[in-house]
């Protein structure tokens, strides 16, 4: 019995721990990249993706400005540190992790709730973006990302064989 549990537990975990999708939103709220990584997901059409990105961008901006906690007095000579806005949202079937770069690009990572270390994963996606998109001379800023090596590197990191 113990043997079977040892065999089934890792496979069950493999099934539940999934990265579903990655969206990248530029600083103006436009969707510049979308990709799904797991098979059998519910399909969204491209218009829905754009609406999702724009809506999230707005809500994120609101969440940055409504901050019930009393403001921490900044160190003399420093500006008050900005609030980060939404960092993660959880529901029964998925978790949304949001990472905003210092330049305002947002990375939205949709995973299953069981997936650990989503903040590490989304930062790694940011690194890959920095390497293969920002260092590519043929990419123009704020435009949709169509970069072959970025796709390949993300696939190697996130897609399960």
């Amino acid at each position: 019995m113990s043997v079977t549990t040892q065999h089934t537990t890792p496979t069950e975990l493999m099934v539940y721990r999934v990265v579903f999708a990655l969206l990248i939103i530029n600083k103006a709220g436009g969707l510049i990249y979308t990709r799904t990584f797991a098979p059998g997901l519910q399909k969204l059409d491209s218009n829905d993706y754009l609406i999702l990105a724009g809506t999230f961008h707005g809500i994120h901006a609101i969440s940055r400005s409504i901050n019930p906690a009393p403001p921490v007095p900044p160190a003399p000579g420093n500006r008050r540190p900005p609030t980060t806005g939404i960092e993660s949202m959880e529901s029964s079937h998925f978790r949304l992790t949001c990472f905003q770069s210092p330049t305002g690009v947002k990375f939205l990572l949709f995973t299953s709730p069981e997936q650990p270390n989503t903040d590490v994963i989304v930062r790694r996606c940011y690194e890959v973006y920095g390497d293969f998109v920002m260092k590519n001379p043929f990419y123009s800023l704020e435009m949709p990302v169509r970069v072959e090596k970025f796709d390949r590197a993300l696939g190697a990191y996130l897609a399960r064989p």
């Binding site: 293969f132 260092k135 590519n136 001379p137 043929f138 072959e148 090596k149 970025f150």
Partner: protein
Amino acid sequence: MPAPTTATATATTNNNPPTPLDFKESDTIPLPPPKPFQPSLRHPASRKSIYDRALSRPPSSTSLPAFAHLFNTLITYHHAKSASVSEIEGRLNRAGYPIGIKMLDLLLYRQGGKAVRPTRLLDLLQFVHGVLWRGLFGRAADALEQSTSKREEYMIVDNEPVVNTYISIPKEMSQLNCAAFVAGIIEGVCDASGFGTEGVSAHWGEGDEMWPGKTIFLLRFQEKVVEREEGIKAAGG
């Protein structure tokens, strides 16, 4: 200071302070006096720049992202100035050419007293394949081949060129290979060592699943170089 007679004549007229009347007649505006030269080169804390270092010192490795940033700027500049893919490649090639001419001397100097300039075609190709590649990228190139159809053509293969690490070519210009810069370096080395080329170009090695970025550098030597090489061979050299 070379001073031909005509130059002295103009120099003496320039030395005289021109009268305001002269400007009206000649319709020119006097240039402001040149500013004293102020070097913009920043020195590290030890007050030693790269030019103060001994040439024979083994090269320290450079950060790849720093290189990528410079190379990125180079490509963006030439891309904005050129109308076609072949023009970008030509411009990148010319940017690499002077580096190649200097690399030949530098690498031979660093090899120490026993090093000699490659005088035979095969020596030169092995120099490019091994010494030049190690000097530039820290590893040898992946293959060295001779064309089966043309005797003056040779190929050097790099499975994953370092300069292309972060570069993805958009579909509308899929023929472009930014390793044309490296091809220019090779051309400079060949020309500087006395093996004139008809041009060195970089091409994508297509249909390789394992190495999608495989690049073939095609070296086309001049006819007289090949003839000279065969002459030496016939004389038993």
